[in-house]
Symmetry: C2
Subunit: 406 residues, 2 copies
């Protein structure tokens, strides 16, 4: 007997019938002799409805009030689930961030969990109750409500599992696991039985939507086994866990893509120390994340500098960069927001050569031009024209033989 943490996303709690289905999954774990802690998101669509209200109220909603507003969605679902469980004869109790308490820093809209007080939860679990905790939210030291950013309920679940030393953390979602790539654009996509934390993290960071990257990081740090499962089917599932020998056999485990990309090039920049800092500091001050950065070899004291940002940030980034370009005497600024990023991920890459070459050749054979490349130990990403995204994913999936399990 151990503790199982179950996390259900918005589509799993979209109405009372679905919440009753969630209750059944919690009860099944309870009947199997486990302690059960359930973490919920808001009903599908509810957070968006609240965000729309905030933007009707103010063009730039006060961030403290914004977090207080959007955290109500989870308060609704957890109390409803606790009611359903009590009605079904399984004593349950819901807890909000301040009731647990889940202490975070003061960074509204993207707070980080600093500490979880496990006393009240342990007390209720010891009484045999099913404990239901609001995902996505915490409180800072002054009892202000904070939220953890989109997908933050995954992080809440993993953090609770880590703090309570749970035997496993099940992430229930509307798909039945992690796939080699998005089945919506590649029919040959195959569900993975297992994947390492590092691969999952790279996949989440490069476009896979199934888990919030921070939750994977935290699961790795505290060695929490994560199961990605379907709420609507008992089949399938993917275990995200520590690397093992089997995993290394797979050169490439997954292929991801991200169409939310734009490329900015600063042309003919004087190549001297401090230039990169003067370009990127104003961007980070406005909370604009820069992803890939490439600087060409310098010629006659000048260079071109290319980087990518999220498409939604490109207008603001362009303005900022154009202002800086003048100051640093660059020639011009070029923007291309018609690009996408395609990535291949695999722990096996480390010990196999020729992976990058194979990736580049596969795309080149299809006439897909590669604009930018960035690599990590277990990942290679390429920026290409957006219209080639689907094609690139499909030919790479074939080239690396992902359809069949090795």
């Amino acid at each position: 007997m151990g503790l199982v943490v179950q996390k259900f996303g918005g589509t799993s709690v979209a109405d009372i019938a679905k919440i009753k289905n969630v209750a059944k999954k919690a009860i099944r774990e309870k009947q199997a002799g486990n302690e059960v802690l359930v973490v919920l998101s808001a009903m599908a669509g509810e957070t968006d409805r609240l965000i729309a209200l905030a933007h009707q109220a103010s063009e730039t909603p006060d961030e403290r009030e914004y977090d207080s507003l959007i955290s109500t969605g989870e308060q609704v679902t957890i109390s409803l689930l606790a009611m359903v469980l009590n009605e079904m004869g399984y004593p349950a109790r819901s807890f909000l961030g301040f009731q647990v308490k889940i202490l975070t820093d003061k960074a509204y809209k993207k707070a980080r969990i600093a500490m979880i007080d496990t006393d009240v939860i342990r007390k209720e679990l010891a009484k045999g109750k099913i404990v239901v905790v609001a995902g996505f939210q915490g409180v800072d030291e002054e009892n202000n409500i904070t939220t953890l950013g989109r997908g933050g309920s995954d992080t809440s679940a993993v953090a609770l599992a880590a703090a309570l030393n749970a035997q496993q953390c099940d992430i229930y979602t509307d798909v039945d696991g992690v796939y080699t790539t998005d089945p919506n654009i590649c029919a040959k996509a195959r569900r993975l039985d297992r994947i390492s934390y590092d691969e999952m993290l790279e996949m989440a960071m490069t476009g896979a939507k199934v888990l919030q990257p921070r939750s994977v990081e935290m699961a790795k740090k505290y060695d929490v086994p994560l199961y990605v499962k379907s709420t609507f089917s008992d089949k399938g599932g993917t275990l995200v866990t520590k690397e093992d020998k089997d995993m290394e056999k797979e050169v490439v485990s997954g292929i991801t893509y991200d169409r939310d990309q734009a490329k900015i090039t600063v042309i003919h920049v004087p190549d001297k120390p401090g230039i990169a800092a003067s370009l990127f500091t104003p961007l980070s001050e406005r909370n604009i994340s820069v992803d890939m950065i490439i600087q060409n070899a310098s010629a006659e004291g000048f260079t071109d500098l290319t980087f990518t940002v999220s498409k939604k940030d490109v207008k603001e980034a362009q303005k900022i960069v154009e202002a800086t370009a003048k100051v640093i005497n660059a020639k011009s600024v070029d923007v291309d927001d018609d690009v996408a990023k395609v990535s291949i991920i695999g722990v096996g890459m480390v010990s196999h050569s020729g992976v990058a070459a194979k990736m580049f050749k596969t795309m080149s054979d299809e006439g897909i031009n590669i604009m930018m490349i960035s690599t990590s130990e277990i990942k290679i990403s390429c920026i290409i024209k957006r219209k080639y995204t689907e094609l690139a994913v499909m030919v790479l999936h074939d080239a690396f033989g992902l359809e069949k399990k090795k």
Copy 2:
């Protein structure tokens, strides 16, 4: 310069446009040099929506979870108002029950405020901020969310005004004050400029919906001047305050009615000690409130016992009373749920004789039969057939000359 507490009900915050209107009213008080604390209800319809969800989730929703669920409505409106105020250039900060904190007892769904910690509010007011507090909610000593019962936001506002020693508490609503009777059924109804706490309390208890009785009790206890005003017009308003000489001139100040009444008669009850207790204890254990009680003079050791309950409780009450009737050897139980209560209220009654006689004669002249009578120092209530409600209110309004101010 003093502190003004403003309370706005659900129709006043039903959408963002209306919340902006509320913001203007708060700003006006601020510009007049006052400190401002605003207490809000949930958007009109929202609490009902949440209650419907609760009843979909469970036939008898767990009360702790129920309170946690329905308290989200106020969390939404207060954060939206704080956003709007900040946007308009008036720094504002919202506070939930646990953030204030508003400490209550543990009686979910009808909690009573035990203590209000005024420290954080005073700190924000001192910074010049407009403070926005969630009505209707508090927390018990274990940080469980509690709610104060329907209309509880009135009580929140008065309790905050009392705790902070406010100069006045303005209750904004969709009518422009307290009337001599309901203008919807009596066109001659006149708005009162002033009314005493005791009269207001009797009116609220006998059917006037404008204020929650407990809020009036509390305003009286702590001597908080209450203004009932319209959110949508600057005209009118009624001051609820201490009794004074002027008020005593009015024999009758108001006429109320309550159609939510049912009458139960236990026939031929053996007249011995303990009978009333054995009848009413099981009702109170099921939280059924008994209003008027009449026991006929005993004849040959037997009596009839008649009482009224809320119409919604009558089915359950009947079952309980029929069970008791068997035990105490009563002959039968008679139920009439086609009745209403009509009341006249006035502090002047104390020093004027013939008020009751005039009430009875006025109704008798119209052929309205009086089934039960109950009196207090400043109120006379009669139970009549429901179909005569409107007629009774109109003829009494005329008979006591309420149309014209004395």
